[in-house]
């Protein structure tokens, strides 16, 4: 009976999956010393900037509290908020489309572009379209999609993959960017230097004609305001303004979780977002539009409201706050794991700490490909502290680890090595007497050590521990034994 499953939250599709287990991918990425150097430089400079501009605001914590509550409220009343947004956006001349998943969203956008007769579109940087693989889909349908954000352009020209949600080319330094431009731009000054200002100028020249001639633009949205039907895009370069203003048709693809209840809520998020993301007091440009404005900007305005696993995440009462994410990237900029492995190791469109919870929440943890993501963390908590909407990422990581173990247990039906280890651990740590008994056997471990008094390989799943570290051989006497000998001799 398929009827039963209608209305049941379903997992997302598209670019939300690990391509290989995180430890394997991380191991490979760690070997890329240039990338690690680039990332270290970029993440450290942004950390200092963020702390400086956040420190300027005496009410930063009050803003975080407000932001977190607004988002929680929005998720708790999501159906009403979306209907309200639809009503207001439609009343102002916009058209609302709903997409259950990536395939459906891609199809809606393709049909809309086809309807205009255009064979190319300009794009504003958007995580949602990255997630659903829209560019690849459009290409397969004979429509060229041109990314206009500088970092997206670098990635697209270099046939690379994004590694950061805000600065997708963060893994490339200025010299590498210059080399990509020299190689891939059809018209470029052969004496182009690697000065960032010169590179920005080259991007301007490269895209200018595209902007001025574009008939269709595709964007994401940083927020939608339910009570007015307004959409907002936050950007820096003016590529967003070009796309949102000059073409005749504007198609926005937005996750359903982006809706905010009241237009005044903008005052909270526009203080939290720029300071958390680029470490600026304000980003250079923010555009807000409400449906169609006669004689100003696109006259055909569409929005595709995308589920693609968001309702699946919403159904997880311990994990649903991950949907509060405003995509600022502060969590990845402070993460010691991300800083070393880079974004590619996570596989999904969403890397870093937020990606490690969001990707499995959107797809379902039982999807094997995403099982290792919740372990891609030392649980140090820096991400939680940096998050402008207070998503408790470490807590959700631990919750998802539990879900992962449960899912695997269900699949295998038999107790795993981990189950047996945990059982053993619980026996040993449950009583002082038990652990004392075990310690008596410790000196036996010396037999496993080599001449250099190090244990280099443990058996079974414990091998993971010794893969990247040695264990010193145990002493010939346990602490308990040594203690009681000491006491006696006194």
């Amino acid at each position: 009976m398929t009827q039963v499953f209608l209305g049941m939250p379903a997992g997302g599709q598209g670019n939300l999956f690990e391509q290989e287990p995180f430890p394997k991918a991380a191991h490979r990425e760690l070997g890329n010393t240039q990338m690690r150097k680039n990332l270290r430089h970029a993440t450290h400079s942004i950390r200092d900037k963020r702390l400086k501009v956040v420190g300027e605001l005496p009410d930063w914590e009050a803003l975080r509290n407000a932001g977190s509550t607004i988002k929680n409220n929005s998720m708790a009343t999501l159906e009403e908020r979306l209907l309200e947004f639809e009503k207001n956006f439609t009343a102002r001349g916009g058209v609302v489309h709903w997409a259950r998943d990536a395939d459906e969203a891609n199809k809606i956008v393709t049909d809309l572009v086809r309807g205009t007769g255009a064979t190319e579109v300009v794009k504003v940087k958007s995580m949602a379209t990255q997630e659903i693989g829209l560019n690849e889909h459009l290409e397969s349908e004979g429509i060229d999609a041109f990314e206009t954000d500088l970092a997206e352009l670098i990635v697209q020209l270099g046939q690379d993959k994004p590694s950061h949600i805000l600065v997708p080319a963060i893994h490339k330094n200025r010299t590498e960017v210059r080399d990509i431009f020299l190689k891939e731009m059809p018209v470029v000054d052969p004496n182009l230097t690697d000065e960032p200002a010169k590179l920005a100028e080259a991007a301007r020249a490269h895209l200018r004609k595209k902007f001025l001639a574009a008939k269709v633009a595709i964007s994401g949205a940083n927020f939608a305001l339910a009570d007015t039907g307004t959409l907002g895009v936050v950007e820096s370069e003016g590529n967003g303004r070009m796309c949102l203003t000059l073409p005749e048709t504007l198609i926005t693809v937005m996750g359903i979780e982006k809706v905010l209840p009241h237009w005044e809520d903008v005052e909270v998020f526009m203080q939290l977002l720029p300071r958390s993301s680029t470490g600026e007091r304000m980003n250079p440009y923010t555009s807000l539009w409400t449906g169609v404005t006669e004689d100003d900007g696109p006259q055909n305005v569409h929005i595709v409201l995308l589920d693609n696993g968001r309702t699946r995440a919403l159904a997880d009462r311990f994990g649903r706050t991950a949907l509060n994410c405003i995509r600022c990237s502060a969590c990845m900029n402070v993460c010691p794991v991300y800083e070393r492995t880079g974004g590619h190791a996570y596989g999904s469109t969403y890397p870093g700490p937020i990606g490690a919870i969001l990707s499995p929440l959107l797809t379902g943890i039982e999807v094997e490909e995403n099982g290792s993501l919740p372990y891609a963390s030392s649980l140090c908590g820096a991400c939680y502290e940096a998050c402008p909407v207070k998503i408790n990422i470490p807590e959700i990581l631990v919750h998802l680890r539990g879900e992962d173990v449960d899912a695997k247990r269900e699949k295998h039906k038999l107790p795993t090595q981990m189950d047996l280890l945990m059982k053993g651990g619980s026996w040993a740590l449950g009583k002082g007497k038990n652990i004392g008994l075990l310690e008596k056997a410790l000196p036996l471990g010396r037999l496993a050590a080599g001449k250099d008094k190090k244990i280099k390989k443990l058996p079974g799943i414990a091998a993971g521990w010794t893969k990247s570290r040695d264990i010193p051989a145990p002493p010939n006497k346990s602490f308990r034994d040594w203690w009681s000998d000491e006491k006696e001799s006194k």
């Binding site: 920005a200 589920d307 309702t311």
Partner: protein
Amino acid sequence: MSAKDEILGRIRTALADTPVTEEVPREYRTTSTMSQEQLIELLVDRLVDYKAGVEVIEAEQIPEFVASKLKDASSVVYPQGLDARWLSALGSEVELRLDAPGARLSVAELDATSAVVTSSAVSVAESGTIILDGQPDQGRRAISLVPDHHVCIVPVSTIVQLLPEAMPRLSITRPLTWISGPSATSDIELERVEGVHGPRTLDVLMVRGL
């Protein structure tokens, strides 16, 4: 079942535990403690930090300063509602192009125009943000975007300290453009550099007595 009905159904299923909403704790700052002189000083500081050109002038000095900022321009576009006297000191070699309902400049014409002069609706000193809301003295969005040089008039009476103070002064459903400096990017090594697709030069004239 339509996609809409199905998604709304999924939301109802997902929220079967009926999470409660809480009153939003709006304990952040919503009122300024600054005098007008302090506001001017703060906004100047922020805009200079963004590499915008800033002058604080009297109303009668507008024509003179507009002319000096645009001394290298060959053509200037202005919206219909802009006070035409502000452009009165421009040299006769500067071509003035009016953008008005029924007489719109094409994108190509805007691209061939050196500069634009507009007014503004409200400015937020703390973040260095000038907000345009498409009123007749600011015009439609394209005119302040395509030309490479934007001269923007900010009456000091429209400066507030905090973003929450600016909100009641905005008509949110008008097309809004928030400008904090000339176009810039942080996409190369997360360092901000000015000058990408939007106007690469932003000159702000903060005007007393307007």
